[in-house]
């Protein structure tokens, strides 16, 4: 077990190298002059060159790369051209917001998608099943940013039940940061008012994010449940008189979930990189908004940093899924 985890962590090294090489290549080899952009429209040639020199951008790409990797070893992700703030500190500030959003969305998706998938498989080929299949494809087809806008329009602008965006109103004093998740930090601080505020701010973006993974998890769960229900051991369980409810909830569900787990892992990583649009709509101060601002000004250090962090989280999420898979499937655990 420990060996398994260690081996996977060692395997991260080439991933980090590969990611940085690819992102560096994109940052340096594509056209565009980020330095001129950062220096501003009125900058003289001399000012631009001075800025380039300050950030080492006048040196060969290889030197820049090795400087960057050297910094990585100390947890230094470089400095933003535009704000001159260290990227690592920025990411540390924005990452919890994105993680909170993604985890909330995945919790909604799993909590609803798994039972729904199981139920539609059990009642398959009847009208609730057909209806849910159509609705699921519809949910996957719904652009998240359009859904976000519709939610805002309905619940924030017309009904005024929920706030339009952000994580907390300005007038609420944020709790001392422990986890960086406002919903958890407010609970730790015992501030129920701030907690309910944080939840209300989280609700719409999390729902907008959760719809497509919910539908996918439901479809996956339905397919794998149907597959498991056709397994011989289910026939045996039926032939030996186990009650239907027990067969489905115990013998089928567990095996079907293990097949769905892979999808959950993939989706988790995918959502981390896909918060950009929802964060834009709800003005959610996370990595997506941060990366978008950097991309528009072609400020490449933050972009590389964000890609690296999300890439590593993606790999980590899949490692967790593999471990969970071992918990559910004893055969994997022992081999």
């Amino acid at each position: 077990m420990l060996y398994f985890i260690l081996r996977r962590i060692v395997l991260l090294v080439p991933v980090v190298i590969g990611l940085t090489v690819i992102m560096f290549a994109i940052a340096r080899l594509l056209p565009g002059d980020p330095v001129a952009l950062a220096a501003g429209p009125n900058a003289t040639q001399g000012e631009i060159e001075a800025l380039a020199h300050e950030f080492g951008l006048d040196r060969p790409v290889w030197t820049q790369y090795f400087t960057y990797v050297g910094g990585l070893l100390h947890g230094d992700l470089g400095t933003s051209l535009l704000t001159r703030r260290p990227v690592a500190a920025d990411i540390a500030a924005y990452l919890p917001a994105t993680l909170e959003l993604v985890i909330a969305a995945m919790l909604i998706a799993v909590a609803i998608g798994i039972p729904l998938g199981l139920a539609t498989a059990v009642w398959r080929n009847r009208w609730p099943d057909y209806l849910s299949q159509v609705v699921a494809i519809g949910a996957i087809s719904m652009p998240r940013f359009f859904l976000g806008l519709l939610l805002q329009l309905c619940f924030a602008m017309w009904l005024m039940w929920l706030p339009l965006g952000g994580r907390l109103p300005i007038i609420v004093i944020p709790p001392p940061s422990v986890t960086g998740f406002l919903t958890i930090d407010t609970l730790i601080a015992g501030d129920m008012h701030a907690f309910s505020m944080a939840m209300r701010h989280l609700a719409m973006p999390a729902i907008a994010m959760s719809l497509s993974p919910l539908a996918t998890i439901m479809r996956m769960m339905r397919a794998s449940t149907i597959e498991v229900m056709n397994q011989d051991y289910v026939t045996t369980a039926r032939a030996l008189g186990l009650p239907r409810g027990k067969i489905i909830l115990k013998y089928v569900a567990r095996n079907a979930i293990s097949a769905t787990l892979t999808v959950i892992g993939l989706y988790f990583g995918w959502l981390l990189g896909g918060t950009v649009l929802v964060e834009t709509v709800f003005d959610w101060p996370g990595l997506g908004l941060y990366a978008t601002k950097a991309i528009i000004s072609q400020d490449m250090m933050p972009v590389i940093g964000v890609a690296l962090v999300i890439g590593l989280l993606f790999v980590a999420a899949n490692l967790v899924i593999d471990l969970l898979y071992g918990v559910i499937n004893p055969k994997v655990r022992y081999s």
Partner: protein, 298 residues
């Protein structure tokens, strides 16, 4: 099971015919696939004729009518007018061309690159396989939307740049798919036979292996079309990609955001157009997968 007298020569042909017949039968049986096909047909129709049929062609070309700003939906403007007094319906109809062509371009380029990478990796094997697949896995690790945004921003605005940027994050899925299929096909008896008689490897790849990979690729392309359209619209929404006055659904939607909630109708038409187009492609792709890809069949 079925035992009928047939000469060996006609058997494969008959089987093939039978398979097609059954596939078509199943497709027709599936109401959803038919609905999807119908929706896709409408979308493709507007892709070709949208600009031509737009009730206000000069608005599509960038014409402004400030006197008629923010008119609510009416008979003359079923989806109202926007901040420049342009007919929203006309813009959305014309926007079909950009969105669908861009989506198709992305899927096409992505699948061509992916097929090349995957077939070389699977067919040559050894170190080529190792290098190409590591590269594929790495690209999959990078968040695709951020990658596409970064490339698009670096390349600068424009239709072609946007398509290229998204395609560069789109190919790994195809590479993995094709490699798997090529590896499986390599072991088939007819390929071994072709090798044994000393056929040229390129010929084996193109004549014997790739044709068998076509149907999963088509299934994936049809399933991907919707997501490609969504990604294109997403870039437009953020403000990277094509610029106004070129009508594009994502851009139209992002402009309308500033005029919520009073002029909400400016958002409805582009949003619904996106949703319905993607819905159609997904329904069709889902139906095609059930029929063409027996492994994924439920």
């Amino acid at each position: 099971m079925t035992e009928t007298v047939q000469t060996p020569q006609t058997e494969p042909a008959r089987q093939g015919n039978d398979r097609m017949r059954r596939a078509f039968f199943r497709f027709r049986q599936s109401t959803l696939s038919m609905v999807g096909a119908g929706m896709v047909a409408v979308v493709l129709f507007f892709t070709v004729f949208g600009t031509m049929l737009a009730p206000y062609p000069d608005h599509v070309a960038g014409g402004v009518e400030t006197a008629a700003r923010f008119q609510p939906p009416s008979a003359g403007h079923p989806f109202g007018t926007n901040e420049l007094g342009q007919d929203v319906l006309s813009l959305v109809m014309a926007g079909t061309t950009v969105s669908v062509l861009a989506g198709f371009g992305v899927v096409l380029i992505g699948s061509v690159i992916g097929t090349l990478v995957g077939s070389v990796a699977g067919f040559v094997g050894g170190w080529a396989d190792e290098v190409l697949m590591r590269l594929t896995d790495l690209t999959l690790t990078i968040p695709s939307l951020i990658l596409a945004m970064a490339i698009a921003a670096a390349l600068g605005p424009g239709f072609a740049n946007m398509v290229i940027a998204i395609s560069l994050s789109w190919w790994p899925g195809y590479a993995r798919l094709v490699r798997g299929e090529v590896l499986a096909a390599r072991e088939e008896v007819y390929v071994t036979a072709a090798r044994a008689i000393g056929a040229n490897p390129a010929r084996i790849l193109f004549r014997h292996i790739l044709p068998n990979v076509v149907s999963p690729i088509i299934v994936k392309m049809s399933l991907d079309m919707g997501f490609a359209i969504l990604t294109v619209a997403g870039l437009g929404f953020i403000g990277i990609g094509v610029r106004p006055p070129t009508p594009e659904w994502g851009t139209l939607l992002s402009l309308s955001r500033s005029y919520m909630p009073d002029y909400w109708w400016t958002a409805m038409a582009p949003g619904m157009a996106m949703f319905l187009a993607v819905f159609g492609f997904n329904l069709l792709g889902d139906g095609l997968r059930d029929i063409l890809d027996p492994k994924a069949r439920r």
